[in-house]
């Protein structure tokens, strides 16, 4: 009887994939909300030190970033292995920091220009000499609020 032919053995019923887009969209929205766009690609090694007494940097639009660290492998041939400063997308010397801060400050809206923070993202292997020079530059352009960006963790891990 054709009507009552059994289904073939071992034929699994197809799993419905109708809800797959919903799941993927959910993931998508999750990542869209918790992440932020990369604004510059790193050209220096940037393993931050750990600290426990940290404060969050609120309001990304009020922050100017300065990266310091040894150039990554691909740039080492040109720039050597001494720690360098990276401003936006290029390497810079210490004396360019001041003008960089002034230029960045001029780009921000008027009402934010006095409340800017400079975030120093410095590799833990860097020496304080360079940092001191940067700090001196920042003082000269009156950018006194700094944030030493760190990872959250036990500060004594730095010493090993």
């Amino acid at each position: 009887m054709a009507k009552f032919t059994k289904k073939k053995e071992g034929d699994l019923p197809a799993v419905s994939t109708a809800s797959l887009p919903d799941i993927v969209f959910m993931l998508l929205f999750f990542f869209m909300t918790v992440t932020t766009m990369k604004d510059s690609s790193l050209m220096v090694a940037n393993t931050l030190p750990n600290a426990s007494e940290i404060k969050k940097l609120e309001k990304k639009d009020r922050v100017i970033y300065i990266y310091v660290g040894t150039p990554t492998q691909e740039y080492q041939k040109v720039f050597g292995t001494e720690p360098k400063i990276q401003l936006n997308d290029k390497f810079a010397n210490v004396d360019e920091v001041g003008s960089f801060i002034l230029a960045e400050r001029a780009k921000k809206p008027q009402e934010l220009q006095n409340v800017l923070t400079t975030a120093l993202k410095v590799d833990k292997e860097a020496n304080m000499g360079l940092i001191t020079d940067i700090k001196q530059q920042l003082r000269e352009v009156n950018a006194l609020k700094v944030n030493y960006t760190t990872y959250e963790g036990d500060a004594f891990n730095n010493l090993q």
Binding site: P21, M32, N127, M128, T132, R139, L159
Partner: protein, 201 residues
């Protein structure tokens, strides 16, 4: 007349592919932010109008040498002991005007927390990670004292109060309430951490 059907159904089979494509795009171009750190104020470049005379006993000097060793008040010290020493110095209260201090009232140490200054000096070859650890311990000493007083007065930690106060998502009436409290605690233990220019020799 044949009945007209509704609009033909759009095949949604490729929706998942499109969504995956978007998902992967966002995964690649974005980062989960790790932006938190130690907030510090640099000293202004113009020297103050008149010279301020500070008694030597109100200054707590911390020197870091190029090997990462600490010289605290002319004695060698391990970084692990720094927080305790800084706390003891800050709340020493030698002149007795600080009612909430629990220090030893040692006459050769600081008069009261509003006068106590921590001076941090480092060598040009000090490693940044060591410097951050020392900064962290000194800020930690202030935070410990402030937390203690905040617990006593308001029953919560100063650090949580402050982060709540600074968080833009906190409703404004809560923030106004916190503002005075945060300010009061900050005035009890003002953060006076001076960083002189690095010595070159």
């Amino acid at each position: 007349m044949p009945r007209r059907k509704g609009a033909p159904e759009v095949n949604a089979g490729s929706m998942a592919d499109i969504a995956f494509l978007l998902l992967i795009f966002f995964l690649v171009t974005t980062t989960i932010e790790t932006d938190a750190g130690l907030d510090r104020m640099l000293p202004p470049i113009e020297p103050p109008e008149q010279d301020v005379v500070i008694k030597q006993k109100n200054i707590f000097t911390v020197n870091i040498n190029r090997n990462g060793q600490l010289l605290v008040e002319d004695n060698l010290m391990e970084i692990e002991d720094l927080r305790e020493a800084a706390t003891a110095f800050l709340e020493n209260g030698a002149d007795g005007s600080c009612t909430y201090c629990k220090g030893k009232k040692d006459p050769s140490s600081s008069d009261n927390p509003t006068k106590a200054i921590i001076s941090l000096k480092n060598d040009r070859e000090t490693k940044y990670s060591t410097y951050i650890t020392v900064q962290n311990e000194l800020v930690g000493a202030y935070n410990d004292l402030r937390n203690r007083e905040a617990q006593r007065l308001y029953g919560q930690d100063f650090t949580t109060m402050e982060s709540k106060y600074l968080d833009p998502e906190t409703p404004s009436n809560v923030r106004d309430d916190l503002k005075d409290k945060v300010k009061r605690i900050q005035e009890m233990f003002p953060q006076k951490l001076s960083e002189a220019e690095t010595t070159t020799d």
